[in-house]
Subunit: 343 residues, 2 copies
DNA sequence: TAATCAAACTAAACCGATTTATAACCGTGA
DNA sequence: TCACGGTTATAAATCGGTTTAGTTTGATTA
């Protein structure tokens, strides 16, 4: 594995490596036409490709950013990371994608690894458990952008959706269709902004329409209790007539359960999900969902991060919170059909 | 952004940086207990994290591998990359994921970028257009593993599925259900092994059962002609009674078309897809598919690559072709129900 | 007393780029 | 002939680690 180095090019072209370096960095000003051509020729003949590692060491810049997603099983995570990648690629950055798997230890290990790899910045959907570490890095001036989950103890750029409003729209839609017993299915685990805001929207809508909240209609699913919890929900003496799932993975769990139980949507129960996913419109009952602009969340996160990285005048940059609106995509899972997904 | 360097640790501990380096690399043999403790203490107090870029430069090893997928829109690509990531993470490697977007120019740019970043190896679903470049790298001893698509002009490890057999099983299944007019829907573009092998399996099954092939039943879809091609297929004077889609994206296109045309599956037409995807069983008509072990394809590719990277005795390593069997997952899209997905 | 040796540690070279300070060259005007 | 300035090119330092060859120290041996 012989690699061609800048010194090889220099020798071939009969100049010093400094000159070749100038050439590579397009500082042609103090270089004769003649020299320029000889270097170009030598590079071509040798198939020289500069060593980015050496360059990074000297420049203290890797043109690489780290993305840590909470759980790659969520179509949401995939979509966001796609947005990040596209934007970064266009702007000359590479992405190392890390899946924290909802595990704070994994997350911590990834943060450390990314630091050692000298990434220029990190985009993260934090689990919240390593916020002291993140805070420390942010305070040192290391660029960090948070997405999906808002944390009030961290002072940095954040990108997320208007979850309260999104959930509110969903529940309001169900109420307007005549539903009063509306279940909510969420993942178990620490109460992060996403979940609490969507729960807030749920309660707010119920309150607005004078519907009493019934805590038995709210279920938190973990890997182990999924079946029993859904079973207890569906076999209530007074079962829900509609169900709102708080994210894409929950929607899939609930749909799988209903399919197995031969429960029909929307005949037996109405359903709205949070997060649109690629096949949501092809399901047995095309799913009405609250859609987030997932791709744009990724793009915007990347944009903010790179802006932060490339702004050397650290003082002048204010932190921004970018809140995207959600959109209710009405399909057929609530029992009637409209022309368009506009709410 | 002050970074702690090895020299800072050395000064704090009152030793030379060589000794700290020895410590970091766990070469304790020639180090007194006392020194060891002092260094450990200094590292802790300073929160020192070694600079992996500097280390990589000296060691000529980045512990990073590149993965280039053909098109990240395919659930197949996502699943494979997940397998790669998991295996790599367990073995101390990081992954830079690149999406070639079925575009040879993008692919070429990514290969060059990965080389410049000095990745230790590449896992790629090649478009075929840059095989000379890949061949060059392989010849130089650079570790490359191909997946999904087989290329006979490249001598390196390959991991893919038994596509011919997979398609054969699908078509045989349809024939045994009484179908004689079976359409095949594939993506347009260069004829790669995946597509040609699946076409082979299709023809082989027809031939075996004495069914004449009708070229009008075979459609190649591009971004622009999708609707018209499917329209011409469905409005034939003698339309197909079954359709076989050659990959996950084609399945989604066809399903979307049928949904729009209110064509029912399996009542109006039977359907089998290639590649299982997360919601295939939740569709209006749960889709019968030929499943590939996507995650395992990723794991195996990573395993072969890392074995190759870590084998310094280059001579002794023979190239392997790992061919995974496919599995027919029988669901409801062909008009009858069985207990199990075994073919 | 001097030579020998092992243990514990270090100076300096090196990886492959970038950059700063400096040098060589050439033509012009005094 | 020499000083000067502008143009073009280079030597050497640097980034933060690893590693090799070697030094220091104190104890042991001849």
């Amino acid at each position: 594995m012989v690699k061609v180095r800048i010194i090889d090019v220099a020798q071939k072209a009969g100049v010093s490596k400094s000159t070749v370096s100038q050439f590579l960095n397009k500082r042609y000003e103090f270089m004769s036409e003649e020299t320029r051509k000889r270097i170009a020729q030598a590079i071509k003949e040798l198939g020289f490709q500069p060593n980015a590692i050496a360059r990074s060491l000297k420049m203290k810049k890797t043109n690489t950013v780290g993305v840590i997603v909470a759980n790659i099983l969520h179509p949401f995570s995939t979509a966001v990371s796609r947005g990040v990648e596209d934007y970064c690629q266009k702007h000359g950055y590479n992405v190392i994608l890390c899946n924290a798997d909802d595990n704070p230890n994994k997350e911590r290990a990834y943060i450390h690894m990314l630091q050692m790899k000298q990434v220029d910045g990190i985009i993260i959907a934090s689990t919240g458990a390593n916020n002291e570490l993140l805070k420390q890095e942010i305070d040192r001036g290391f660029p960090v952008v948070l997405f999906d989950r808002r944390f009030d103890d961290l002072e940095t750029d954040m990108v997320y959706s208007d979850n309260r409003k999104g959930a509110y729209m969903a529940i309001e839609h169900l109420i307007q269709l005549g539903h009063k017993r509306i279940a909510l299915v969420a993942p178990a685990g620490p109460l992060l902004s996403v979940r609490s805001e969507r729960l807030e929207g749920y309660h707010e809508a119920l309150k607005k329409y004078g519907i009493p909240a019934d805590e038995h209609l709210i279920k938190f699913l973990s890997k182990t209790n999924t079946y029993t919890e859904l079973e207890s929900l569906w076999s209530m003496q007074n079962p829900p007539t509609a169900v709102f799932t708080i994210n894409d993975l929950m929607a899939m769990e609930v749909l799988t359960y209903f399919k197995q139980k031969l429960v029909r949507i929307p005949e037996d129960i109405a359903m709205i999900g949070f997060d649109d996913f690629p096949t949501a419109h092809l399901l047995a009952s095309p799913l009405t969902v609250v859609a987030q602009p997932t791709y744009d969340i990724g793009v915007r996160s990347a944009e903010l991060l790179i802006k932060h990285i490339e702004n050397e005048d650290k003082q002048s940059l204010k932190y921004v919170q970018h809140i995207f609106p959600c959109q209710l995509m009405i399909r057929e899972s609530c029992g009637f059909r409209k022309k368009n997904g506009q709410s």
